[in-house]
């Protein structure tokens, strides 16, 4: 087990999440939504967390933000350290609030995440009044500047309008303005462009990139769109059934995909590269029931390479590259199958 991944980064990390597990009590039993997630993120970098609905990607970041309703939710184990200071279960670090000040967040559906009875300007001013103690007037002026920074035209007029007067793309810009109001060191973007058209998506992604360059904040981007990942991410964590099954640089993930789930996803998507045309191959079956997760690998039931061991024991993180690991028995040092025999559509 010498190749088990312990810590991927050597450079100083901004945020380190270790062995995070979250459960929810429901009428049907206990759902193990997140089952031991590890990742780190550096300043100024973008980490994309990808996976299909129900894989636990949103719950992971909500736990960090203290947004899990408890009960029915419960963080059963793990830690999340921001510059070495634990944030789980706490509201402040050194007097600075975590939520809103240290970590900003934008959501998938800006229509329902904003208060319809407050003007946009007041809503952006609110975190400044709460976290910085600004007067309303000063906060509102700052809100107008933030709207300008988010490239909303006629910001002074727009700040006095209500959410219903904005289009979807504009609302997402307003959300971004609100999230960066207190200059957070991490911005969490939970499916920020899923509800938007590709043209507006391109605008929002450009805006996030520009803001990251200006402020040096780290971005955690949650998405299921591999195109958005390719455009935005420095690093990618692929989640499946509450665990990160593959983690590496964006090039590792796309050009040297290792985990069978990632291979399956790529085979299920159309490619626009004429040299790589293939018939779409759907992944058979559906994700496992997280009320009673399987004893072995979560992907086992759908995996075309599944072996006997996969159904009975959890694989660990095995390195397949310097900073690239896969949580799959195929990549265990004793595995007879060599990882590169599995690679699908390698382009290098």
């Amino acid at each position: 087990m010498s190749q088990v991944a312990v810590n991927l980064q050597k450079s100083p990390t901004l945020l380190e999440v270790k062995n995070l597990a979250v459960e929810f009590d429901t009428y049907g039993g206990t759902v193990q939504a997140v089952r031991g997630v590890n990742f780190t993120i550096e300043q100024g970098k973008t980490l994309a967390i990808v996976g299909e609905s129900g894989c636990g990607k949103s719950v992971t970041v909500q736990a960090m933000m203290g947004l899990i309703p408890m009960p029915p939710g419960r963080i059963t184990s793990g830690s999340a350290r921001l510059r070495g200071v634990e944030v789980l279960g706490r509201n402040t670090i050194d007097g600075r609030e975590i939520r809103g000040a240290e970590i900003g967040m934008i959501f998938q559906d800006p229509m329902t995440s904003l208060n319809p009875t407050m003007t946009i300007g007041d809503q952006i001013a609110e975190p400044l009044q709460v976290h910085r103690g600004y007067s309303h007037r000063r906060a509102f002026d700052e809100a107008i500047q933030l709207l300008e920074l988010s490239k909303i035209p006629e910001a002074a007029k727009r700040a006095r309008q209500y959410p219903f007067e904005y289009s979807g793309g504009m609302l997402q810009r307003a959300m971004i303005a609100m999230a960066i109001a207190c200059k957070p060191s991490i911005l969490i973007a939970d499916e920020p462009t899923t509800a938007l058209d590709v043209t507006i998506q391109a605008q929002i992604l450009d805006l996030l990139n520009d803001l990251q360059k200006e402020t040096g904040m780290a971005i955690i981007l949650i998405t299921h769109d591999l195109g958005v990942v390719a455009r935005m991410a420095d690093e990618v964590a692929v989640m499946y059934a509450g665990k990160i099954v593959e983690h590496g640089s964006v090039d590792d993930i796309f050009y040297r995909s290792a985990h069978p789930y990632m291979l399956g996803l790529r085979a299920a998507m159309p490619t626009n590269d004429p040299s790589l045309q293939h018939e779409l191959q759907p992944i058979a079956g559906s994700p496992p029931d997280l009320f009673s997760p399987p004893p072995g690998c979560g992907y086992c039931a759908r995996c075309p390479y599944a072996m006997q061991v996969c159904g009975s024991a959890h694989p660990e993180d095995y390195f397949v590259g310097e900073t690239h690991f896969s949580r799959c028995w195929l990549h265990h040092p004793d595995s007879t199958l060599k990882p590169d025999e599995l690679y699908f559509g390698n382009m290098d």
């Binding site: 590709v198 043209t199 391109a202 992604l205 299921h224 591999l226 390719a230 299920a268 159309p270 004429p274």
Partner: protein, 319 residues
């Protein structure tokens, strides 16, 4: 090429009161050949769904006409028209959660068409429904279950079975995959393609996922604010777009290829799709077009064939 379905100067407005009108589809002509898949793309609010619904008669036509096998369909469907045409044209809806009646069993939902439009007896209907459940990858005993017991992908397949059971010739698929996960999208797409082969279907495939439309369709049509701006062979339109809007739309589509994405200049377009209420004169794209000319602001360009490629484009750059 024999056209199975032809929309001729089809127009659909919605009155909003106070003399405001939404010009959802305006003077749109489109002909779809037999056994062809035409992909329809465009931003939300461009009128794609309205066009689909108007073509199958779920919405009345404000003006213009739709011809099916040479027969001009009525401007407004009477119950008898639905009765007659339901066996020829069907629709698959976008949202598999709201398009199935939660109080009907899956068997009832799928059988309803047969019950109303064929003289088959109950046992025979039941058999056909069971057949179709198997064909779309479900099981015959799912018949007695309710929609809420199924996942999104399974529900979408129930919607497909419901549309296909009458053996239609033409089906409008309104964003059939946008509510689904990637791994499930492929299942639904492959099912549609397989049914197209075995049943000789003609499809109007509405979607906003450009890569998927290119993969599925024979021809791709690009819609902007109620009008077609470009139509041609799907691959050619994707790899060699001619209309400035198509260029921007395809340039905004993120590809799952990091190197390509890094090398690609940002093509983000300024502004958003204008309101389809009281649209301005001239080219509707003029307000956002990077190559706008004086003529664009007062003359509406027509959809005309290009000289060098097999393509129709509505843009003054080419006239």
């Amino acid at each position: 090429m024999a056209a199975l379905l032809e929309a001729i100067e089809l127009t659909r407005y919605f009155d909003m009161g106070r003399k405001q009108r939404v010009h959802a589809v305006e003077q749109l002509s489109l002909s779809i050949a037999e056994k062809e898949i035409v992909g329809l793309v465009g931003e939300s609010g461009s009128g794609k769904s309205t066009l689909g619904k108007t073509i199958v008669g779920l919405l009345d036509k404000t003006s213009g006409s739709v011809k099916f096998r040479g027969e001009t369909l009525p401007q407004k469907y009477a119950p008898a028209d639905f009765q007659r045409l339901a066996t020829k044209m069907q629709m698959i809806f976008q949202d598999p959660y709201s398009s199935l009646n939660p109080r009907m069993t899956v068997g009832e939902i799928i059988a309803e068409g047969l019950r109303l439009h064929s003289d088959k007896k109950a046992p025979e209907i039941k058999e056909t429904v069971a057949d179709w459940l198997l064909k779309v990858g479900l099981q015959a005993n799912h018949m007695s279950r309710y929609p809420h017991e199924f996942s999104g992908g399974q529900r979408q397949r129930i919607g497909i079975a419901r549309a296909m059971i009458l053996g239609p010739e033409f089906v409008v698929c309104d964003e059939p995959i946008s509510a689904l996960d990637v791994s499930v999208q492929a299942q639904v797409i492959n099912l549609l393609r397989e049914l197209k082969e075995t049943m000789g279907l003609t499809l109007l495939f509405i979607a906003h996922d450009l890569s998927m439309v290119r993969y599925v369709s024979d021809r791709m049509a690009v819609m902007y604010l109620g009008s077609l701006v470009e139509i041609g062979k799907a691959d050619e339109v994707y790899f060699d777009p001619r209309h400035p809007y198509t260029e921007i739309l395809i340039g905004s589509n993120p590809e799952p290829d990091p190197e390509l994405e890094r090398s690609r200049p940002s093509t983000a377009i300024q502004g958003e799709i204008p309101s389809p209420v009281n649209v301005p004169e001239g080219c509707r794209f003029a307000s956002r077009c990077p190559r706008v000319m004086e003529v664009c602001r007062h003359t509406t360009p027509e959809l005309l064939p290009l000289k060098d490629v097999d393509r129709q484009v509505a843009c003054h750059l080419y006239t």
